[in-house]
């Protein structure tokens, strides 16, 4: 009896020692805010009002009837979709070109990865200069009308600008994951395919791509979740302009909460946003998994 009691105390002691700091920080900054956030969505809390009250589902009602929010939500879906497609195509192409015997391979990989070392704010400002001063200059030099006015002043082309920068930024990141995928394909399968007469494009389509499904899952997951959360780049490159046409969901939530001071509605949007991201990420994994084959 005494022995088991001592053991229990001992166990609790080491639990607190090993897990305590970690759990304390995790609970304070993630779990409590997450739960409190759900509570917030049922109130009309605002830092500029002294009191607040329970409003039931009215915040969600407000969100569902907010046309602007859904428009910007739709824009975000379009942005994520195009970024995912083009980024993966480019990354796969780069990985394909950079696998195998190649002089200066490490140098090249490092070069393509460079944009990922730099934060979205700085990347956004770099491209702001490029779109408003350098690309327009190219338009003048080549006398090519579409490039003469800045991408950032057109509602349609401003979102294209966002996609271009996102693809440029993440292609190098996804590239190194695809390279790891290429390298992990067993040599004997490749040789067997070649003996069977599969070369070039057919080998790629029937052997390489099916065996790389795990890499596709990771890459899609990374770009989808990061795409939805894009805020820094959005802020620095377009700041939602022109006419709010590039205000993506993350920025909409930020402005609703911290500029319009509507914490309750902002948090209701954030919860809807969270559920969408989770559904998109999980659906993608399940869909892609169906194509998986064993090597």
């Amino acid at each position: 009896m005494n022995g088991s009691r001592k053991k229990l105390l001992n166990n609790i002691g080491s639990f607190v020692l090993f897990m305590g700091p970690s759990l304390f920080a995790f609970i304070c900054v993630l779990l409590i805010p997450l739960v409190y956030g759900i509570y917030l969505t049922f109130t009309n809390y605002s830092p500029i009002r002294l009191t607040y009250e329970f409003v039931g589902l009215r915040n969600f009602q407000a969100v569902f009837t907010d046309k602007e929010f859904w428009q910007q939500f739709g824009k975000t879906l379009v942005y994520v979709l195009y970024s995912t497609i083009f980024c993966n195509i480019l990354a796969f192409l780069l990985a394909f070109l950079l696998t195998g015997n190649l002089r200066g391979r490490d140098f090249l990989r490092a070069g393509f990865f460079t944009p990922n070392l730099i934060g979205g704010i700085v990347l956004g400002y770099i491209w702001k200069f490029l779109f408003s001063n350098v690309v327009t200059k190219l338009g003048e030099i080549w006398d090519y009308q579409p490039l003469k006015t800045s991408f950032l002043t057109h509602p349609e082309r401003a979102i294209t600008a966002m996609i271009i920068v996102t693809v440029w930024q993440y292609a190098g990141y996804l590239m190194i994951i695809y390279i790891a995928g290429f390298v992990s394909i067993p040599q004997d399968i490749q040789e067997a395919a070649e003996i069977d007469g599969a070369t070039g494009f057919r080998k790629l389509l029937h052997i390489t791509i099916p065996l790389m499904v795990p890499s596709f899952i990771i890459c899609f997951f990374i770009i989808i979740s990061r795409g939805f959360m894009t805020y820094d780049l959005n802020l620095a490159l377009t700041n939602g302009q022109p006419y709010g046409s590039t205000r993506l969901a993350a920025m909409h939530i930020y402005q609703k909460a911290f500029q319009a001071n509507e914490y309750g509605i902002g948090q209701a949007e954030a919860i809807i946003f969270f559920i969408t991201v989770a559904i998109a990420a999980v659906t993608q994994v399940l869909l892609t998994k169906r194509f998986e084959v064993e090597a």
Partner: protein
């Protein structure tokens, strides 16, 4: 046949280097234009600079207006201390979770893994509301504590996966020799974690050093600004004079690229390891 292969190989190099030039072009343009006046940049962004005319004027101006030393100091303190705390606490927690397969530990681990899918936007508003009403804003130390909390799940997940494959026998014999649990962890287990520590370290540096949104919500006074915050502020305040802004961009990039030159192999390996797991 051989000639055809040679041509293909040549085309591959041409294509790769063409793409690389396109990829690096934005950085190159920032560097050359940071040595021009704003008028020269607007008139001819592609021409090479004439350094004797402008010299480092733009850099000096950016350096002072951004309060660069202060910002980089803040960024260094926040990044280094946050990451030391994350590495220490998460590796201890992961070790405990692996070696004690209690029911509660399994629940904790599941909650941690599930929490990784929560986007920051879903936490941000209640976070500001709670810590704001407790008057716990505008301090580096609160920000560091937050990074420590947000960094736990991923780091524990990675350490957990690694420690699982370390056989427990060595630790048992050390226990018999009278080692306490904590000594055992630091003397025997922690040194074995080196390869995964590098992975977590690299991914967390890239995250915390470049993060804008969380510090922008917490650090309100100019003296506390990190590098991304002071870059943002610099651009908002002096938005018409392009040349010093470009020098400012180059200044913020230099420290990262300097580190990258020496450790690019580790960084790329770390990113791959972090993504695959």
């Amino acid at each position: 046949m051989r000639a055809k292969k040679g041509v293909l190989k040549f085309l591959r190099y041409v294509l790769i280097y063409l793409l690389l030039v396109l990829f690096i072009m934005p950085f190159y343009l920032m560097v050359i234009n940071s040595f021009k006046t704003t008028q020269q940049f607007v008139a001819s962004p592609f021409s090479l600079p004439e350094p004797e005319k402008v010299g480092f004027d733009n850099y000096i101006s950016a350096f002072n207006k951004m309060n660069f030393m202060n910002a980089i100091g803040n960024s260094l303190v926040i990044t280094i201390i946050s990451i030391l705390l994350i590495l220490l606490t998460s590796s201890m927690a992961a070790y405990f979770l692996v070696r004690h397969q209690w029911k509660i530990n399994k629940v904790i681990f599941a909650v941690l893994v599930a929490s990784m899918i929560v986007p920051f936007q879903a936490i941000m508003i209640p976070l500001v509301s709670i810590y704001g009403s407790l008057n716990l804003m505008n301090s580096k130390w609160i920000l560091i504590f937050m990074y420590m909390g947000f960094g736990q799940a991923f780091a524990i997940f990675i350490f957990h996966g690694f420690i699982k494959n370390i056989p427990a026998e060595m630790e048992e014999s050390a226990l018999i020799d009278g080692c306490s649990k904590i000594q055992l962890f630091f003397r025997i287990v922690f040194p074995l974690l080196k390869p995964v520590i590098v992975t977590v370290l690299i991914l967390d540096v890239l995250w915390i050093w470049n993060d804008y949104l969380l510090p922008s919500l917490i650090l309100l006074s100019p003296a506390e600004r990190t590098l991304p915050l002071s870059t943002y502020n610099f651009f908002n305040t002096y938005s018409v004079d392009y040349a010093p802004l470009m020098a400012g961009i180059v200044l913020t990039i230099i420290p990262v690229v300097a580190v990258y030159l020496f450790s690019q192999k580790h960084i790329i390996e770390g990113v791959v390891q972090g993504a695959i797991k």
